[in-house]
Structure formats: structure tokens, C-alpha cells
Symmetry: C2
Subunit: 331 residues, 2 copies
């Protein structure tokens, strides 16, 4: 029976409509597994083409050449040389386009997505995120650091060479502020982090859990907005990704690669976005916000109803999605 | 220079990034103008196939046969026979899937989108919206009526025969509640409807206005989330679409058809969504909320940054979009 579910923290509703559901394997991407060359002479991220990007801000080396590489985003919508000064145009607020946008090239090979990398390279990527996020947060204008990855056309990328992005802004969007305030209110009322509570609840119920590792839990959220949405949270309470320690990086590399491999194998390399959310820089380490990662395969198209109401219709109950993903082999 | 702009009412930020902009005509859809047959024997919305849909709840007749027809949505995610009872599963809130979902078939011809209909038929569609919205709001469980249209694959529809949808729910989503509360707060502070203010401001500035008719203004919003986004508001303050009068329907038909024709001619029939927003049924007619229509051509793909921050990057300044749309012929 179709029913509405409310996100415990944001109070957003979704409709879980299993009557319209396909079997999980019917969500397999039909674009066909693309065979890319290992090297593309025109790709700005392939070795030998380093002159096509601005100079690297950080490199992780392996055997004399780079294994991971972070460069300023040449085509960014925000620019570090601008100010974050506020202006009023009549009643309307604008801010100069200050921001720092960087691209993390995840591997020298043109044809290896994160799901297919060696564990050591996934660790390198996660370490790169930590180093760059820490560095960007030191800029006195920066108040939010967002780490994300767009994989595939439907997820908004056109560059095939596997990469992710880090964007630091002075602006704290209402989206983030509202979410943090909801968490703060819960903490004020009940004296605990609402995300720690969710994590413990999911471990108790088990039905939506995909992976329960030493340091992380990955599950399909109760009020998932779309099929196979995945949330990953550290068991140790921390508000910002840059607090991640070496043992956690090692563990998260295994968890993240497994999750992406499950999507790759189970749904035939679907396009996806992921985001790592941390608290604002000015709030810093808090008792109420918990850093986390959300992975969303792009399998459905939000339309007028979602635009009108903010209510997403999800035809795949998260309990069924989790069961399917638990069972997909990562070999 | 790229800069952030804040939505005056919702406080949502967008980045206007004209450096990355294409010329307006480079946004033309490349899918090619599709030539559809006037009649498709397998289409449930074509005349003669009325038995493929549930019985009509309303028809507008023209010369003995129907010109517009509204039917219950056979594949809806919500169902009128369910209750809207709340349940707590532990701490987590769910509601049975009550809702009423109807489909408005806009014309008997298989191959005529709203942009290409005769004026009389567009009026019929708008009148149908009014009648059905009025009727659905009488259901004691209903608290929100959302009217919308999905045109094309990227806008989330697969049925080519031109149609729109009306969904009535018991749930008032946080999305809507937040927006109404922001408007209420503005009204509390300044004693006027913030949307009336926006409308007057846009008429004064002129630079974002596309059409200024007797009863309506259509413009590209200051903080447009995506290229060629269009807002249409009635000059007469009213909170709910079902208060629209005959003179306004006649005028809106001309305005809406012109706007859709401008998109069709100027951007080569882009996929689009539109939504008509009204206040909740229980709030009813208020001084602070103003019914309105938003039209969004689907020309870009929101990605990880939008998912992480709620900040949309828009490469087409609304002032340039409005200028382009003003100049596109509706012939």
C-alpha cells in the first residue's frame, strides 16, 4: 500500500509507492557498460596533459608519478579572487561570487571509476578530501565546504575521467542552516545527536542496513527520496569530515568501494551523485550535527509534483532496496 | 562577474554565472521537433480509446464530442480510498497514502501541445483546472491541491498526448509550509503581501518582465534557479487558483499560450514543467499568499553541488533570458 513517510529530522515527506515498483533488477541502467580507453590524449585529467589544467594544489605520489591530483576548477561558477561582500539592490540581496572550487582527479587511468579502483587509491581519494577540506576551511572567508561527485551524464558531468569536486563558499545556504537548526532543536529537547540516534535505530532494526563495518554504517534511509538512495555515517560522533582519522579512512575506503561496486554490479553502472556533508566552519565541532555521506543513483526523473510540493515519489521501498544491495556481490 | 542572489521570500541562494553562459539560442533543444501523428490508436487519451481510462470526472464539450477531459489517474502514487491517518513506527511518522490524482487531457489531437492549441482550448484547460481544483478542495481530507504539467521525457513524462495533472493531498509538505510562513512573516512585519510587492517591483524595473497583460505579469525571477525560468502572477491579489475569474482565464490563456509558444519557437520545443501554486485549503484566502505559476524548461542537470547545498548554478542571467523571450515571436 502506498504511504507517506516523514524524514525524522528535516520533516520532509516522501511517498513510498510500491504498487508502481519494478523488481530491483529492472532498475538496471540500459545505457550499456561503456568501454573507455585507458588513456585519452585529449583528456585534461590524463597523465601528460597536466598543462591543460591549472597547476595542482596537491598530489599524492605513487612510484614516482601522481596517483591522485587536485587542481583548481578552471570552469568554476565561483572564484577565489572575488570578495564575499553583501550588496542590497533595492530589497534584493546579492553577494560577489567568492568561492574556491577544486577538482580531485581520482586516478591516472582514464577508464577507472571509483568503484573499480584499488583500495589504496580509494584511500588516497578520501585522504585528499580530508587534506583539501582542512586547508580550504582555513580561508577566513570560507564557511561551508562541500565535497561531491557527479558520475555520468544524468548526474550532471560530461568528463568521463573519474573525478570529484570540492567547493568552499562563504554562503551558508538555507538548506544547510535549516537542517542544522532542526538537529539543534532535537538536541536541545532530547540531549543527544539525532543522527547518532538514527544510526543506532537502523542498527537495531537491521532491515535497511546494507553494511555495518567497524567504523561506519551504510543504509537506505527510512524516507528515501529515490530508489537505492544510500546514507553512510561514522559511528564515532563528529560534525566535520576533516576530523576523520586514519583507521576510519581505511574502513570508509572499503565501505564506499563496496557500495559503489554494488551499484555498478547490481544496477549496471548507474549514473550517481554523492555528497559529503559537514557542519559549517563557524559552527565547527558540535554535539548536534554529524558528518555523513549520501549516495543517490539517478534512476528516476523528478517532475512537476516534486517541483510543486517537494514530496518525492519513490517506487522502491528502502527495505527492498537494502535487501537487494546487501545481496549483490562486490566481486 | 558571477554572483550569488537571494530569493527575497524563501532566502534560497542561487549563483548567477554568466561567464559560463551560452548565448540564449544555444539552449535550443537538440532533440529535433518531433512529428507526431494526429491520432494514435494505442494512446489512452485519443478519442475512441476512452475505455482505456477510468470514466471521466468532467468533460468540456465542443461540437458534440469532448474538447477537454479529466480522468482519475490510473497509475497514481496516491489513492482516494485510503485514509490520511497518522501512524508512529517507533519515532517515525507515516501516513496512509490518501490523495486524489487526476489527469487533464488537454485536447483530442494526439500531436498538439498546449503551446499549439487554439485559444478556446487553452481557456478550456484553465477552466477545467479551476473546476477540478474547486471540487477536490471540498473533500474534507484534502488540504493541498497542486496543478502541474510535465512536458517531455526530461520533465518526467512518457505519454506524448498533451495532458496535465492535479494532485490533492491531505499532507501539507514542509516545502509549502515554510514558503507560506516566510510570506506570513513578511506580511506581519510590513503589512503587505510580499508577492504583490515583487510584482510591483518587477513592473517598475521592467528588465525581467516578459509579458505585462491586463491581469497578469510574467517575468524571469531575480533569483532564477535555472535558465529561462518564468513566474506568472495575477495582478489581483488572491491566494488560490480557484478564485480566478472569467476575465482572468481569458487573459491567462493568451499569456500562457504566448509563453509556451515563445519557449517552443525560441528554444525548439524544450521539455518543461509548470506548477500552479495555491495556498493550503485550510488557510484558504489569505492576505499574505498569492497564487502563481512557475514554468521551468528542463535545460540543465542539477548535480552534486545542488544536492549538497540547495544552491543552484544558473548560467543564464534572468535579465538576458527575459530579453530573449520578449523578442521571440509567437507567430
Amino acid at each position: 500500500m502506498s504511504h507517506f513517510r516523514q524524514n525524522f529530522i528535516t520533516k520532509e515527506w516522501v511517498i513510498i509507492a510500491p504498487e508502481r515498483a519494478k523488481r530491483p533488477d529492472q532498475f538496471r541502467s540500459d545505457k550499456g557498460l561503456k568501454v573507455l580507453p585507458e588513456y585519452d590524449a585529449t583528456c585534461p585529467f590524463c597523465p601528460g596533459n597536466e598543462h591543460l589544467t591549472p597547476p595542482a594544489v596537491m598530489e599524492i605520489k605513487s612510484g614516482g608519478s601522481w596517483a591522485q591530483r587536485t587542481v583548481p576548477n578552471k570552469f568554476a561558477a565561483v572564484m577565489p579572487e572575488l570578495s564575499a561582500e553583501r550588496h542590497l539592490e533595492g530589497k534584493y540581496l546579492t553577494v560577489d561570487g567568492f568561492g574556491i572550487a577544486e577538482v580531485v582527479v581520482e586516478h591516472p587511468s582514464h577508464n577507472k571509476d571509483l568503484a573499480l579502483l584499488e583500495l589504496e587509491d580509494v584511500k588516497g581519494v578520501l585522504r585528499m578530501y580530508k587534506e583539501r577540506a582542512t586547508e580550504l576551511a582555513k580561508n577566513p572567508q570560507v564557511d561551508l565546504v562541500t565535497i561531491f561527485k557527479n558520475h555520468g551524464l544524468r548526474a550532471g558531468t560530461s568528463l568521463e575521467h573519474s573525478h570529484s569536486q570540492i567547493i568552499a563558499t562563504a554562503i551558508v545556504p538555507i538548506h544547510m542552516r535549516y537542517w542544522m537548526n532542526q538537529a539543534l532543536t532535537y538536541h536541545d529537547d532530547f540531549g543527544e545527536c539525532p543522527f547518532c540516534l538514527l544510526l543506532k535505530d537502523e542498527l537495531r532494526y537491521q532491515v535497511r542496513v546494507i553494511i555495518d563495518s567497524e567504523h561506519f554504517v551504510a543504509w537506505c534511509p527510512f524516507a528515501s527520496k529515490s530508489p537505492f538512495e544510500i546514507r553512510v555515517m561514522p559511528k564515532r560522533h563528529n560534525s566535520q569530515y576533516d576530523c576523520i582519522n586514519e583507521a576510519e579512512i581505511d574502513d570508509l575506503a572499503v565501505v564506499l568501494r563496496s557500495l559503489l561496486k554494488k551499484l555498478y554490479n547490481g544496477l549496471a553502472d548507474p549514473d550517481y551523485n554523492f555528497v559529503i556533508y559537514s557542519s559549517t566552519v563557524s559552527e565547527g565541532e558540535t554535539q548536534y550535527f554529524h558528518w555523513q555521506m549520501t549516495i543517490v543513483p539517478k534512476l528516476t526523473t523528478p517532475a512537476g509534483f516534486e517541483m510543486g510540493t517537494g514530496i518525492f515519489i519513490n517506487v522502491m521501498p528502502p527495505e527492498d532496496a537494502a535487501k537487494f544491495l546487501r545481496e549483490v556481490s562486490v566481486a
